[in-house]
Amino acid sequence: MRGTRFTETMLGTVRLDPGGPVRRIRLDLRARAEEVLRPHRTVRARVDGRVRVAGLADDPDATGELEISPLAGRRIAYRLSFTAQGRRLTLDGWKSVTARHPVRSMTVLPFSLYEDGAPIGQGTLRFPLATGLAPFLLSFRFPRHEDGDRFLAPRWDGSPGRTEVWYTTLTDPATGTGLWLHHELVAPTDGSAPTAHGWAAVFPPEGKVTHARFGPVPWSGPTHGFTAGDVTAGPGRLSGSAGDLSWNLTEQPAAEPLFTFPRWSWRRPLLPATHMLPAARATYDGTFATPDGTLTLHGAPGASARINGHGNARRWAWLHADLGDGAVLEVVAAVSTRPLLRRLPPLVFLRLRHRGRTWPRRAERSAVGLLGVGRFRADIGLPRWTVTGRTLLRRIRVDVTQPAERTLALDYRDPDGAPAVCRNSESADATILLERWWGRWRTEASWTLSGTAHAEVGDR
């Protein structure tokens, strides 16, 4: 289900007391609705933003609600609460839509101001058509709202030659320790019974990387996630043991799902493999026991991811970087094992969720560009690998360093038995530079992660 987001700016005047001065007022609002805006229905949205009243208020944390009903109710109602010199005021008004004056009625917002429910003033706000219409229309987004838990259910349909992965990576903010839990279902190509196996790994900031495997055990066919013996990976919970490692974690999703590959490839598995995150960011609580002691996690940032496909790539690189303030970067660059495709350079799937938006807007953009032009490029190597790319007005450069002492090399095996080697670090370093074109390339944002990036490079 999709929602609606847009921004709106309105300017006007307000008079607080009869006979008092007329003050200028400006609203800069962000609206978020849980459903798609439909003009013939009533849609309610939450708004937040900034309210400025000349000489009285400048509150960047105004909140309220919006009732958008241009045809059914013939009004667009605003109710905002904001603080003015310590007083909590409420702005309540609505545009009254009429076919006789479509423009005026859609742009003029008479309102009243209340303090503790008592009216203290009134005014009129106007939407500035000349300067505000284009930003207003361009601001519309219709993001999906999805329950990430449903992506944890197994996708395997009984076909031979399939691999399905549930993996979780996180960083303990207290100690800087990186953790990796890998759960894998393998349906061999020869048609033999599917098995479940996996491993856990610990990446302490100091000291040796350790890991332990569990399984393989016969696949028991769970419906909500992964199960292999005492190891489970389901909605909101991860538990189990492998060797002398054991864990018992709860997972709190902190963001919407993020599809690293095109969404359609998850629904219809036409690509050799596909990758997505049920929650682009998550936090973890619980315990993770190692021979050197037990880690107690409180709000540890990380993410769980899902892979569904036919096996491992011929060559690949992966990065998950929690950039703070809700931003997250997910990169998969891979070369397929399929004939012809194996001759191509790495296809880069880069997804940057930043300030509530995901860039590039379509996953295909970074992989294949526009008809093959302008695709993102990856230079895969160790200990350093890079990804670069640009769209029309924005470009990015990602540098990942996986120091050898903080990297774990593991053998992978495809459903057909072909081997691969993975070099993983849950305490990698990364620098990310995001630039935007505005006459020249200007830095829009830059991030440096020291030991908190989760990265992996694999080859054969």
């Binding site: 009869p18 013939h40 229905r41 009533t42 009903s69 059914a72 109710g73 013939r74 009004r75 109602a77 309540d92 008004g93 609505w94 009254s96 008479p110 309102f111 009243s112 009216p119 009134q122 009129t124």
Partner: protein, 618 residues
Amino acid sequence: MTAPGLVAALLADTGEEEWPARVPGRLEAFLSALPAPVRGAVRTGAGAVDAYAVLHSGRRLNALTPDERQAVLDSLAARPRLLPILDLLKVPVLLAAATERTPAPRPSAAPADPPLDCVPAAEWPTRTRADAVVVGSGAGGAVAARTLARAGLDVVVLEEGEHHTTASFGTRAPLERFTDLYRDGGATAALGDPPLLLPVGRAVGGTTVVNSGTCYRTPDHVVDRWSGRYGFHLADGLPARLDEIERTLRVATQPLDVLGANGLLALAGAERLGWRAAPLRRNAPGCKGSCQCVVGCPTGAKQSVQLSVLPDACAAGARIVTGARVLRVLLDRDLPGGPRAAGVLARRADGSELEILSPLVVTAAGALQTPALLRRSGLGRHPRLGRNLSVHPATSVAGRFAEPVTSWSGVLQSVGVEELHSRGILIEATASPPGMSSFVLPGLGRPLRRELEAADRLAVLGAMIADRPSGRVHGRDRTLVRYRLDPRDGARLIEAVGAMGRILFAAGAQEVLTGIPRAPRVYTPTELDSVLATLTPRDLHLSAFHPTGTVAAGGDPQRAPADPEGRLRGVHGVLVVDASVLPGCPEVNPQLSIMAAALAVTENYLEREVSRRTSTAA
């Protein structure tokens, strides 16, 4: 000035007195308050008479001598078909003349009115919210506002008219108040056969500001009919609610001390005939007999709702916005279960608009305005909306007595003669301020002037008829009322004229003025009967009062636009509490019936809301 020549001719002005010269100016001021069609008709009529004068005498009326003017009028009066039209021209001239002839009122020491929370629409914010909006502050709206406010709801009453205080009534001439207090300056009419003058009030307090204060309880047989035949089951609870309303309005039988000669003569005449008659029950404790009920009681004795009910409503938190005409009930159309009222859109006098959002809209704009409001709001689809209009067609008769009666000194509507009430005829001794009676003095020019000079010897009776619903309210932005008098009701009117004549003769009247242009005077009951035998209702000067039933409540969804609980069908959150919700003619002055029905509808709504919330919470 309007038609100074016609005024001088009709009033037989010889220039010896000063006041007739002021009448054209007063007439101009009066006409300016009337709707343009009425104003145009009066001016066209005056112009036609002037043109006739040019044809008759070579000059316009204004340039003629008094004798020549009289000759022109005599020539016109010789054509009986023109007399009804000339009577229509006489009405505004006599109104203006009475105002100029009567000394200006002395400012009286009126008691202070109970406080109201009135806010002019210009000062009311453009956007507000409330729990309930009541459209109209008359009998029904006031009771609804009080009931809802006492239940804790935030209530806003929207009133198209203005708030007039008792003190303001005492300082202004009756005609000035008349044009302010009535819709269209009192010129509301029902078109039809015959046309009826149908005045309705427009002020804070609605028509209760300008009614006579007569308070009849709804007759039992009417209650039974509303409940049994129409399925308006709330009527079953009316008796108890009528008790409460009577207590609120302090209804009591009018004492004889200030009754006035007009009422005493009616009592005497009825007694000699052996007919049932008594002083009326009224909501005017301490009435001083000012005889100005129809232009606002200048002593504050009459307990109009702005003095009795609305103060309680305001004390409970209700607010009244004056000078705001409600254009539309706002609707939310996409809610599950069908459309729901969301508030109202109203227009201020300067043309700007204001809106109040409210989940409950109570319409109390009166039986003539509520249908139009609902149509403007897209709620007028029910085929019976605006139909089923009942009024009380009324006519009046005057009797000339040897001794002065001075009917305008005493209680305006004082005595009820109920002998014929079982046959749908209610006779009430009804005087009025000079010139404002629906009774039109006979004659043109000098005969009219003589009647005017001798008006203090006239006693006036009025009769109203319980009709069959025969009218319909058309229109969205401006109402058009059509009414076709039922033949049964026409016969009742003729019978009523005869009954009133008999009462006046029995009381000692020397002659009875019938108000019928072609037989203006009769001297014996026998002569009256012979005149009436040749009459049709079209020959009478008819007025009508008490419009009801245009959004009738009832059990049959096909016939009643409102359900048995007074909720408008086809929408949630709209209550109808004015006279339009009454299923049929109340057969008596309807103020108590309207108020009790409004009380029943709103109390029932509150009970339903409480039970709904309780079940939701459970």
